[in-house]
């Protein structure tokens, strides 16, 4: 099926840093994707409900507050509970390297930290879709 890739860029929790999320949203748009941006302070429940209604191919979580070890796995868990197995879940933001293996274990496919070129993220998304 040759259709645009749909991505939900979401900011879970109380984190107010939204520059990164906006940079990513624009980069993905410029790569031809349809990006749904829902703004700040989303609960994992809202993120998963939105992903289902929008039938996105990718959920991209952005977090700089330090709460990623709770919020990211929670999104993965809710997706599983809802039986959603065809969505690629990735994340980015200020995330210490030592936390990354645990997050991957919990079901987040890849984590992109500051300094990663957006071209790399776009390639990753294109090569790892689950649809």
């Amino acid at each position: 099926m040759n259709r645009p890739i749909r991505v939900l860029v979401a900011k879970p929790g109380l984190d107010g840093h939204d520059r990164g999320a906006k940079v990513i949203a624009r980069a993905l748009r410029d790569a031809g994707m349809e990006v749904i941006y829902t703004g700040l302070r989303q609960t994992p429940e809202q993120i998963v409900a939105t992903a289902i209604q929008e039938d996105v191919d990718v959920i991209g979580l952005s977090l700089l507050s330090g709460a990623h070890n709770y919020l990211f796995p929670r999104v993965a868990e809710l997706l599983k509970e809802e039986g959603v197995d065809d969505v690629l879940l990735i994340g980015g933001g200020v995330i210490p390297n030592e936390d990354i293996p645990g997050l991957k274990e919990a079901g987040i496919s890849e984590i992109f930290t500051p300094g990663t070129p957006t071209t790399e993220m776009i390639e990753y998304i294109k090569n790892n879709l689950k649809r």
């Binding site: 259709r3 748009r29 349809e34 749904i36 209604q53 039938d55």
Partner: protein, 317 residues
């Protein structure tokens, strides 16, 4: 999952199935046709509200508040929110949901964002398909937020029962300039941001504009609202209800739907005819010789047209 199973689950109220069906009808014309044939019998029940107006007028904020008011009365409400697709990259940022954050989890609400994907007219080519899926899924009201109106984005008239035109103070001369063809489609005018200076003047200007339209059977009401503060929303909902009553009593409801169905069928026929014409002009480069004849004044364009149509009529396809 097969589309029959998806339809079954959608009719049971599963949002995931509904979301997947919308993706198919938005992207795969052949599959879409199968699905839409199948669900036709369940459609036609929803009342469809179009919300249109200039970029940034507060259409999404207003939609959010209207949805909240409607679900409080026990309705199920769906929203299709349309934003422009970049003509250069084919990508888009669909941001209308930012104003509707706390509706995401409501069991009686379904929100879907769509890019225009190159379609002019304020909607995307397949908005109508998505609408049918949501209608079949049992939503009582479906609100369609169009992209900001410029001069010709009036496709919404072809699918909505009630159109709310959102205006804001400070448009000034813009009201004059968007008048032609656009003002006419409003069934209700909402002056949003009435907390800002100039709202009364905007309302007056709209009323003056309406005074000039002589051929109106029903004068559209002008309602002042402050979507951001949830003010005037009940008045607006009342006007929607009044409009529905008017449509039903006057027979306009059926008339409008019949007209729209006719338009839809004609469009479908045109689309097929265009395919036939293209296959005849492209495949065989049929017109190359004729074009030279036109250049050399041996024939004129009308003769070539008639010859071409004559040939089409004789060949089976």
């Amino acid at each position: 999952m097969s589309y029959m199973k998806l339809i079954e689950n959608m009719l049971k109220g599963q949002k995931r199935a509904c979301g997947k069906l919308i993706t198919i009808v938005e992207n795969e014309p052949e599959e879409a046709e199968k699905i839409l044939r199948e669900i036709h019998q369940y459609t036609g029940k929803a009342h469809i509200i179009g919300i249109t107006g200039p970029p940034g007028a507060g259409k999404s904020t207003l939609t959010d508040k209207m949805v909240k008011a409607l679900i409080k009365e026990g309705n199920k409400v769906a929203v299709i929110a349309i934003d422009p697709t970049s003509p250069y990259t084919g990508g888009s940022i669909l941001g209308d949901r930012i104003r509707m954050q706390d509706l995401a989890l409501d069991p009686n609400v379904f929100i879907r964002s769509m890019g225009t994907r190159g379609h002019l007219g304020g909607l995307s080519k397949y908005t109508k398909n998505a609408l049918k899926v949501l209608d079949a899924a049992g939503y009582d009201y479906i609100i369609i937020e169009t992209v900001g109106v410029g001069q010709s984005e009036v496709d919404i008239v072809k699918i909505a029962d009630t159109i709310i035109m959102v205006m804001v103070p400070g448009l000034g001369d813009d009201i004059q300039s968007i008048k032609a063809g656009i003002m006419e489609i409003g069934d209700i005018f909402a002056v949003n941001k009435s907390d800002l200076f100039g709202a009364d003047r905007t309302a007056t200007e709209i009323n003056m504009m309406l005074d000039l339209s002589m051929d109106m059977e029903r004068r559209p009401p002008v309602v002042k609202v402050v979507a951001a503060k949830n003010e005037g929303i009940d008045d607006l909902i009342n006007e929607v209800r009044e409009h529905i009553n008017y449509l039903k009593k006057s027979g306009k409801f059926e008339e409008r739907r019949k007209n729209n169905l006719k338009l839809e069928v004609v469009e479908l026929i045109e689309e097929e005819l265009r395919k036939i014409v293209i296959s005849h002009t492209d495949k065989e480069s049929k017109l190359d010789g004729e074009v030279v004849d036109i250049l050399n004044k041996k024939k004129n364009v009308y003769e070539v047209r008639d010859e071409f149509l004559g040939k089409l009529n004789r060949s089976p396809n």
